[in-house]
């Protein structure tokens, strides 16, 4: 048995306190924000859509990461929240002329409410792991079917955001490829990162990680497990709904498959897994890789290099590339890029 000197005993908590401090992540965020703000000035206008896509990926992955990465509640149905955000926005705009800025909060609240109700049912009956993932998946699919057969949200044809004649901040609509979209998206990403950072340092956030690591222990120490889990789910759903609202405004169109389809759930998961599950920066890194990658592969298909001639005019290669990336990352780098780099840095 070793006897620790008072100095050593004191050192440990101080060290932990330091790593929990917000200064470093905030500095990193500030640097990223400044660098990202310069992007429109170096990027040609036609490339702006890739940048906006990266931002949408990032918001969705940040939302997913909170619930499934930090919370350990593996969601396979984040399309449900994304779709609620997208549909709330376009429905209120088309039928009631409500500003997207107001719909943003309504959609986020609605998604949070849905998350709390489904989460309550799932945890009330102690659904775990695979069953929970399947339930979230089934729920998103159910919403897709309902949207397809409900005429007041446009049925299977969906909803078109009405085109305005002039730019409008209030209606969040600008000329195609206008830099405003990029800056609004960037602001949303920065706010979502801030929310993640602050939440993880809040009591509820610390409990969330504790519950993920050992639910029974957390419970026996008096952590209000149900309330904490539902809070995390609600926050995650709200963030994902914001991505949905922004998507609807940028592409000016939603339909049941875009909003609630399986592909959308996958797009929330993939950047987080590639970048690093349960890391703050992982979703951003993943989005930064996936966005340009899917554009690159689809441009290959439009103008294939010689040896890929037979692929001209086909589609599917973009998803193939990121499916392979997903499998390789899970098999070879289960901690994702950021997680692996972090570990390497510590063991250096």
């Amino acid at each position: 048995m070793t006897i620790t000197t008072p100095d050593e005993a004191l050192d440990a908590p101080v060290e932990r306190e330091k790593s929990r401090s917000l200064v470093r992540p905030l500095l990193v965020l500030a640097v990223i924000t400044v660098l990202a703000a310069l992007v429109p000035s170096v990027l040609s206008e036609s490339r702006q859509s890739i940048a906006v896509r990266v931002l949408i990926f990032a918001i969705m992955a940040l939302g997913w990461n909170l619930m499934s990465g930090y919370g350990g509640m593996f969601s396979f149905g984040h399309a449900a929240y994304f779709g609620i955000g997208a549909y709330t926005d376009s429905y209120l705009l088309v039928h009631h002329n409500v500003s997207p800025w107001i719909s943003l909060f309504i959609g986020a609240a609605l998604a949070a409410l849905v998350a709390v109700v489904t989460g309550y049912l799932a945890f009330r009956y102690k659904l775990r792991a695979a069953y929970f993932a399947l339930a979230t998946f089934a729920f998103a699919e159910m919403l897709r079917l309902l949207a397809t057969n409900t005429h007041w949200v446009g049925g299977s044809t969906g909803l078109h955001v009405p085109l305005l004649t002039a730019d409008s901040w209030w209606k969040l609509q600008f000329a195609a490829n206008a830099p405003q979209y990029y800056y609004i998206g960037l602001a949303m990403v920065v706010i979502c990162v801030l929310i993640t950072l602050l939440y993880l340092r809040s009591r509820s956030g610390i409990y969330t990680v504790a519950i993920r690591d050992n639910e029974d222990a957390a419970n026996s120490l008096g952590v209000p497990v149900m309330r904490v889990k539902l809070t995390t789910m609600a926050l995650s759903a709200a963030i994902t709904a914001v991505a949905g609202m922004f998507y609807a405004q940028y592409f000016m169109f939603v339909d049941p498959d875009i909003a609630f389809g399986q592909a959308q759930s996958v797009q929330a998961i993939t950047p987080a897994v590639i970048g690093g599950v349960a890391t703050v920066w992982g979703p951003l890194v993943g989005a930064l890789i996936l966005g340009p990658l899917s554009d690159l592969t689809s441009s290959w298909l439009r103008n294939p290099p010689g040896f890929l001639d037979f692929l001209a005019g086909r589609s599917g290669l973009d998803v193939i590339v990121y499916a392979v990336l997903l499998i390789v990352i899970v098999v070879a780098l289960p901690k994702g890029i950021v997680g692996t780099v972090k570990q390497w840095w510590r063991n250096r």
Partner: protein, 323 residues
């Protein structure tokens, strides 16, 4: 979790009976809503016949889960490969689609076994989430590879002559009847293989205790590969059987993916016989629900049933208390 095929003999009546009462209630609602015995009777027959294919598909999925602990999200995509194999055979040789059955089974078996040997065996024992992510990646990979090579236009592999068969006043196409009977025959063959052969005993031994099975000389990795192959072969055969009456597209497997999960959870994850019976029930619920909740997709009632089962009885309706 063990693959259990015997437990169904001791099924506790309550959840199963409750489910059957639910189906009965759905039947009555469908009858009242449509006001026609012939429409409801037709739904009953169509549902039961569709259910046979769900049973076969889900038995493969349940086998994979029971032995390998993998929630195989690519199962529907393997069915899609079965569809395209059938299309290719018909398209290249002009033969009857049923000629493709052995081809589909062999191709999917080899593909599944190779995948397990080369990719999934590396990650055995890692978290459920990473297995789920890998099979999710596989499902994206398969459906988009099919899209890349065959394009997105719908294809078909119809029978030249597909007459209606009259059964108790309702009509079903010959191809659907063949699919039903064929699927059940293969399902029973799989059951016999697992229960009555020494090879099946080895699979069950690995499912029950992999260390123990390894110690008595069973090549566990080989059993894994063969089991995954058997599971995907079920999906391939199911794909071949439905090919003559299905629009063949790269994403045709998606809706079967979720259906198979509903069946597997209902039967109890890993319970092969449970999957067989539940497949028929899900087929009935889908068709009767389509009549009872008019105007919505028939799948909606399946999802409602699924969420009910997940919440109330995630261990399935066949009493077997698992994990």
């Amino acid at each position: 979790m063990a693959v259990s095929t015997r437990r169904q003999l001791s099924l506790r009546p309550s959840p199963f009976v409750a489910t059957m009462l639910l189906v009965l209630a759905l039947f009555v609602v469908a009858l009242l809503r449509s006001g026609s015995m012939s429409i409801t009777g037709q739904a009953l027959l169509t549902g039961l016949i569709a259910g046979g294919v769900y049973s076969l598909l889900a038995m493969g999925l349940s086998l994979i889960f029971g032995v390998l602990d993998i929630v195989n999200f690519a199962h529907g995509s393997f069915l899609a490969i079965g569809l395209f194999v059938t299309y290719e055979v018909v398209h290249q040789t002009g033969a009857n689609p049923y000629v493709a059955l052995p081809v589909a089974i062999v191709v999917l078996f080899v593909l599944g076994a190779l995948l397990q040997l080369l990719v999934l065996n590396r990650t055995m024992g890692s978290s459920l989430e990473s297995q789920l992510l890998i099979t999710l990646g596989l499902s994206l990979l398969i459906s988009n590879a099919l899209l890349l090579f065959f394009g997105g236009d719908p294809l078909s592999a119809n029978l030249h002559n597909d007459p209606g068969v009259h059964i108790f006043g309702a009509v079903a196409n010959l191809s659907r009847v063949i699919a039903f009977v064929g699927a059940l025959v293969l399902a029973l063959l799989l059951y016999v293989l697992l229960e009555k052969t020494s090879f099946g005993r080895a699979i069950r031994a690995v499912a029950a205790n992999r260390q123990g099975a390894g110690l008595v000389g069973i090549d566990v990795r080989m059993i894994y590969a063969v089991t995954f192959g058997l599971g995907t072969a079920c999906a391939g055969a199911a794909g071949m059987f439905i090919a003559p009456f299905t629009t063949i597209t790269p994403t045709a497997g998606d809706q079967f993916n979720i259906l198979a999960f509903v069946v597997v959870v209902m039967g109890g994850l890993g319970n092969i016989m449970g999957a067989l019976v539940s497949g028929l029930i899900v087929g009935l619920v889908e068709q009767l629900g389509g009549v009872a909740i008019a105007g919505q997709s028939p799948l909606l009632s399946v999802f409602i049933l699924f969420l009910l089962i997940l919440l109330i009885r995630p261990q399935g309706i066949f009493g077997a208390k698992s994990s």
